[in-house]
Amino acid sequence: MAEQIFFYFFAALSIVSAFLAVTRKNPVVSVVWLISCMFSLAVIYVILSAFFLAAVQVIVYAGAILMLFVFVIMMLNLKTGMVGQLRNLGLKFVGLIAALLILRQFYSAIKGAGAMTGLPPRAAAGFGEAAAVGKLLYSQYIYPLELMAVLLLVAIVGALVLAGKEQS
């Protein structure tokens, strides 16, 4: 019961904060709502017994990435209402239609999945802990993992190249 209350509370909180993050005019306020959204998602991961994922969510998203957001916004010194608005009426219209179509599709998907009763089944012991994730990463997913290393290297080299261009 307590778990259910937790789930509904944080699920609702994540949706509300995501909505507010999109609609707020002040970018700093937007980012704060985004942080709240990320935190509520982390709590939902905990309820699903994905503890490692929850920790990563907090450290990487709520911590590092959003900190970066805040830095960039502060450095650019964006004022309230400076985030560009969609002035093109045609684009707004297309966006509305696309959003409605996606909503309809998700609605029928959820309806098609049948009624959910209670919580999803409990995961096996040890599931979602750092050790289990690590074992999976370094065995079955070793190829993508090594490729990620290459990807990060490319990103670092790229950042240096673009930054170095300014100096020379």
Binding site: I102, A113, P144, L147, V150
Partner: protein, 494 residues
Amino acid sequence: MTGFPSISWNLLLPQIVLLSTALFLLLLAVIYRGGGRSRGATVAGAVFSLLGLGVAAFMALAQYDTVADTFGAMLRLDPFSTFFTLLIIGGAALCVLLSVREAGGLKAMAGEYYALLIFSVLGMVVMVTAADLLVIFIGLETMSLAVYILVGIGGERENGAEGSLKYFLIGAFASAFLIYGIALLLGTTGTTRLDGIASGLNLAEGGSLQLVAVALVLIGFLFKIAAVPFHMWAPDAYEGAPTPITAFMAVAVKASAFAVLLRVLNVSLLPLADYWLPVMWTLAVLTMTVGNLAAIFQGNIKRMLAYSSIAHAGYLLVALASIDPAAAGVGNDPAMASVLFYLTVYTLMNVGAFGVLIYLGGGGRQMETLEQIKGTGFRYPLLGVAMTVFMFSLAGIPPTGGFLGKFYVFSAAVNRGLISLAIIGVLNSAASAYYYIRVTVQMYMRQSDEQLPGLPFSLPLAAAVLLALYGVFQLGIAPSDLLTAADRAVLFLR
């Protein structure tokens, strides 16, 4: 919990060679940084890039007939993936030849330029040899990140940064679509493996979500091939990038994205063919028409070739719309083989056209607009002839490879009874002749307003243009070898 997957390292040799080459080029860049010997850095970078690409191609060629999985079936080697590995490496090698002069202008960044180029080739090879959506995504990101940087690397170009940023922002957006689609597919089918997805697709049960997932994944790929309406980034990125990188984007990025699209559509999404075939039909018509109409109004040749490359993606989508789902496992499908043939020809004629453009710009005078190339045909006769051949090939006029490429694509459409699609394609092709031949007209029929300077001879550029010229004629006159290889390659797509 599954154990450590068995690894056949020899299947991975091309990737290992490419990675080592890229890392070595990074080191080389550091070594050359000190003395300011930018010319040495350029030449050494090009030589080692070509060497690495050559060795990787040799490794891939040696395993051409191998059909095997490794890394727990994350990587799949078959003639289809090897065909594309070789095509991508070949296209990249031609682009390296085009780069020697341009990269010299980048001074400090010449070493990193080649390293990023090879990194992006590595990402493409990973993509086309992948048998898992996760690996495809990482390969795609490696490729894209490297190309975003390469677009913005052109030092003094003011629109390079704009093109790069636009490409990056829209590209990141498309990646988000792709990864969201992959996540939904994982959630509804229980796997990211390409063959597993096919058996996991079940429209009766929760199918609606699967359709959303498939749509999101396809949007991610269609963005990379610049299909309308996901093409907005292409003209700016193509125009702002250094010209060799424009060529690289037009040929290698497009080829690898089409390879993945073909594999995903045929291996994973064949049960949904009734849904995506009409989508491909519509997108083909849109992409051809918008690309060709917009190309007519371009004064800048790079921009015109950008729209032309959108139009060519449209012709390739005609082939995708003509895939016969009933041919699965029965025999070869001429529609799919025509994609492989077309992409090969397209690589050659595009590299050639961009090569001539770069060569013309060597005299210290910018040669990018229709105004600027006036009268160059008689001043530089060989380049004029070469450009004419490439333009005729792009327009699809015999006896060039471009004609046969279009012929195979449209006849595949007719075979499947898509007469109207074939007619729209032929009409588009006729319209495109207008802007291709206008280039030739400008070169031969108009007089230049000023004295045209002499062009310094450049061996790598001349070699690239001659190779492309040879290939375009070879494929236009004797296409049977490549056709046989393409037919055989697509047999392994099921």
